[in-house]
Symmetry: C2
Subunit: 593 residues, 2 copies
């Protein structure tokens, strides 16, 4: 089995960097030991090796098909979902009282990363079910919970998020799916949803849609959107499953991520589709947003998982492929060297490694904030971690997603012509990585979220907490020899981040919100780069006493590489953000010829 | 028919920027008028619309297949090749005395760009034949020319370049295909070639391979490689075609570029494959390299062609897709605006536009140098244009190729979820663009070529000529108002380029060649950015008196965009190139964990 993640690296990040084992000292997670965590990780890897990895390419080459109104997926998906149900993976993160393991998010996400890397398309089925179940568990009444959660946790029923409509993608306020109140408290649902991942398939016996719709006569915009459970099949009194008038109107054929079916669903075309309100009326979008951080961290993990698999494939190839000779020794009589000996190939590997190590560190950091929010003993501490998570979520979703395109592209480049052919895996990763800057909010949307909302959250409190986190790490690193230059450089960049943020906020008053936000995507990238350098510095600090000298050197080189090749981009972005020409605002449609 | 190139822009670049019509004043091209050039362009566009574009998606979805030892391609490819033969397109660039039109390279390449954008996979068939025919025409004897050229020019026979072998990709010195001299002056060929574009297919009746092989007992390395014509089918005395023991051993299934077959060929597995020496023994690689500039400019054009098609698709979508409202006006009662009104979408369009306009300008510039080399009236001038072309070839090949990945990726992003689905074209362009940094020399190879060879060509004469070209354009721009800041900025960057080049060359003596070249890929990017800003400045100057105000504004914004968002990267790269830590040289294989 070829390597797709490094367990050594994952354990280093979890324990040496993020001290995840200390969570067990807290009452909430006291049902676990570090040994339990280790067992979860090794079980995930075993499942990845056995149930997922062997079918990664096969699933890509054999897309789901819509046959007689039903989407047929690869047969091995059923085995995996079943194993996830039986092993308690779908509910692992849920409270014990609700049937879960009460596993910390950081461990849950680390296991998710292994699944993502093993077979991204396969990994999304239980991930989506867990997300939908989380909404039910948090906001639905006991009756609904009792009906839906057990079957979802067991993997018998699939869960989905049904948000997007043909005319409402990024603009959720324009959702038009209707919910008409019936006399028995249920609702009649009518509308179209598109791009619904796992929206229909034959590996589960029912699909439970967590669907956003507008109750008849509800206010316009986001304040009139409610959340519903809409099962594909209704449960009769005899516990039989019968049609709920949810029709699979189409399947989308995609560039990558091909093993997972993405459906176009038609609800209530025969006026016979029943939905169940979750929580209160008109609060659907706010419920959804409370779960959004989790989903978005998940997407970041998807991206890093795929990037990891591509990195290890290209590393293996570079170590085994002889081509050319060292540049200072072109003696043709000598054997060709493996391409990993060429500096430019090492550069391409370091690029991948630094991005992946930093991104994975950042995503686990976010998961840890979610855990610490839960274990916080006072409201101030609780707020602190909630704000840190809120602030970093757009960054942790977008940076790994955007960079995943570049790191998988670099993996293809290392394999050269072979990498462009379907005999190798890397081209699949390149295609798959392209989805992540799009779904769960495009990068542009996240830029606006960060600069337009998160920076000012609670009067800038979130921003200040993040700054403090950065300085804490810098301070922790200051006693390490040979690091002075990098520390100065990172400090300088933190200062630039801080000052440009203030300048940008001032632009609202001097100009307008559109102008202020016109380069928000660049600001998002700036924060992303800073966050990665912060995480790599943390890893640099934590690795100082590591026993494996090669592992230690790898971390040191990855950190230095990032400081040299990526970190300086902050200066450029800062320079751009300072400008007030508003080129992209002033550019007109008719000039594009 | 949706737009895939802008004829207005192409004509502006050819005539207003590069003054291509002035070539007709020269004897060599005096058989043409500007009207002829215009006719060629409009004919190319008509062919693109009629014969190519309608099959772009269909060919992608229906890859060539190897059936009973023969590769079967889409039936419409034959029509296009035939039309190219009948219209004189394959031989257009050849001298009239050899049966061509004696068309300038700049016009020939402009037409190629149209074909590339219309249907990249289809466009490569005649392009490859023309390249192979050019080798025959330049280096083979009259007998061989008379046998092969007419059938290649007519499109009846396909031409290929057969270089790569399983153990010799980037390292051509390791080619091991053997050529054993026979008594009649012919050679018996034996070996394996892989990744041969159009290496076998049923749209032509024969395939003529221009093949590199090593004559028995030849010196090792590049100095022992010879060039052969190896036809797939031999011609008998009765002009019948019979097997030449060239077996199609396999077909490569690729991520993109799927309409074109890439073959694994086995030559002489029954010891019955005959080859004909082209030119002299052991000079094969030098012949090949004399044609390489042309092929590499061609690859750059391929990349820009695909990027153009993606740009126009995303522009059309942005103009038609309503989503969200202006950021300062979130009134849900108002209709959604088209996404082109969002600043971030305009940023993504300007990114594509500036890269494409600049890259296309650069590639036409290179073609013009090739023309001017031919029309030069004295040896100094001839050398000047030859050196400029040599110097810029790695840049004009690599920058558009590398950036093509990013611009097509941006096109996908503009379409969002739709862009990820195969109902739209952009995902195809994203997959296709990934090949160009790999074939005809990887980006890493071109970096080494530029910094390790081209910069010092003729004691730095090529470099100096390029500097002079940059300053000529800067001087021409100095009288234009409102441009002072950009001119200063470009001048500053030209100075940085000049000084860092000298510093890098000094590193050979202080350190060693490996260290000096360790960041050659970054140096290549630096020169690429500078070259694009130079071309966009040229366009800025040339557009000043343009009658179409919208077109003019588009050029001005594209130039400003590039100066603001891309040009400053030179400073970063310069800073990196100045360092002497040699991180990527010092990094060791065992640290990658």
């Amino acid at each position: 089995m070829e390597k797709y993640i490094s367990l050594q690296n994952l354990e280093f990040l979890l324990y040496d960097v993020h001290q995840a084992h200390l969570l067990t000292q807290n009452k909430l997670f006291s049902n676990h030991t570090k040994q339990d965590f280790d067992l979860m990780l090794s079980s995930a890897l075993e499942m990845g090796d056995r149930l997922m990895r062997p079918y990664n390419r096969i699933m890509d080459a054999n897309e789901p098909q819509l046959v007689d109104g039903k989407i047929i997926v690869h047969e091995k998906i059923k085995d995996f979902i079943k194993a996830c149900g039986e092993g308690g993976w779908i509910s692992a993160h849920f409270p014990e009282k609700d049937g879960g393991m009460q596993l910390p998010a950081i461990i849950n996400n680390a296991c998710g990363y292994i699944f993502n890397a093993a077979n991204y398309s396969m990994s999304i089925f239980p991930f989506l079910t867990a997300g939908a179940a989380n909404l039910i568990n948090t906001f639905a009444n006991e009756t609904l919970k009792n009906i839906y959660l057990p079957k979802m946790f067991s993997g018998e029923w699939q869960g989905t998020m049904a948000l997007t409509e043909p005319d409402a993608g990024s603009s959720l306020s324009d959702i038009s799916t209707m919910a008409i109140p019936l006399e028995d408290g249920k609702y009649q649902i009518k509308g179209q949803k598109i791009y619904i991942s796992a929206g229909d398939h034959n590996a589960c016996e029912n699909v439970i849609h967590l669907l956003l719709a507008r109750i008849k006569d509800a206010p316009a915009g986001v304040k009139g959107i409610s959340l519903f459970i809409v099962p594909q099949k209704k449960i009769t009194e005899n516990e039989e499953l019968v049609s709920n008038d949810v029709i699979t109107a189409g399947i989308f054929h995609k560039m990558g991520y091909k093993g997972a079916p993405i459906a176009h669903l038609s609800f209530g075309s025969n006026d016979n589709c029943i939905g169940y309100l979750v929580g209160e009326e008109h609060k659907g979008l706010s419920y959804m947003f409370q779960m959004m951080n989790e989903a978005r961290i998940g997407v970041g993990m998807n991206a890093v998982g795929i990037a990891s698999a591509a990195y290890y494939d290209s590393l293996k190839y570079a170590k085994e492929r002889p081509q050319g000779r060292k540049i200072e020794n072109k003696d043709i009589a000598q054997k060709q060297v493996n391409i990993i000996e060429h500096a430019d190939v090492k550069r391409m590997l370091l690029f991948q490694k630094s991005i992946i190590d930093g991104s994975l560190g950042l995503l686990l950091q976010c998961a840890l904030y979610a855990d610490k929010e839960k274990t916080a003993t006072n409201s101030e501490e609780k707020e602190k971690y909630a704000l840190l998570l809120d602030f970093l979520t757009p960054v942790a979703k977008s940076y790994p997603s955007e960079m995943g395109i570049l790191t998988t592209s670099t993996a293809v480049q290392i394999l050269g012509g072979a990498g462009y052919c379907r005999d190798f895996n890397v081209e699949q990763y390149f295609r798959e990585s392209r989805i992540h800057p799009i779904h769960e909010g495009t990068t542009g949307i996240h830029g606006i979220d960060l600069l337009g909302r998160k920076v000012n959250l609670k009067n800038g409190k979130a921003f200040k907490y993040f700054l403090r986190e950065l300085y804490d790490t810098i301070n922790a690193a200051e006693n390490i020899e040979l690091l002075e230059i990098q520390i100065d450089e990172i400090s300088r960049n933190v200062y630039m981040f801080s000052s440009i943020t203030k300048e940008l906020l001032d632009k609202i008053e001097k100009y307008d919100i559109e102008k202020m936000l016109s380069d928000a995507t660049l600001y998002l990238e700036l924060v992303g780069i800073l966050a990665i350098s912060w995480q790599l510095l943390k890893q640099f600090v934590a690795v100082q006493n590591h026993q494996d000298e090669n592992f230690k050197q790898g971390k040191i080189f990855a950190f230095h590489y990032y400081c040299e090749y990526e970190l300086p981009k902050i200066q450029l972005i800062r320079n751009r953000l300072e400008k007030n020409d508003f080129l992209t605002v002033k550019m007109k449609e008719e000039y594009f010829l």
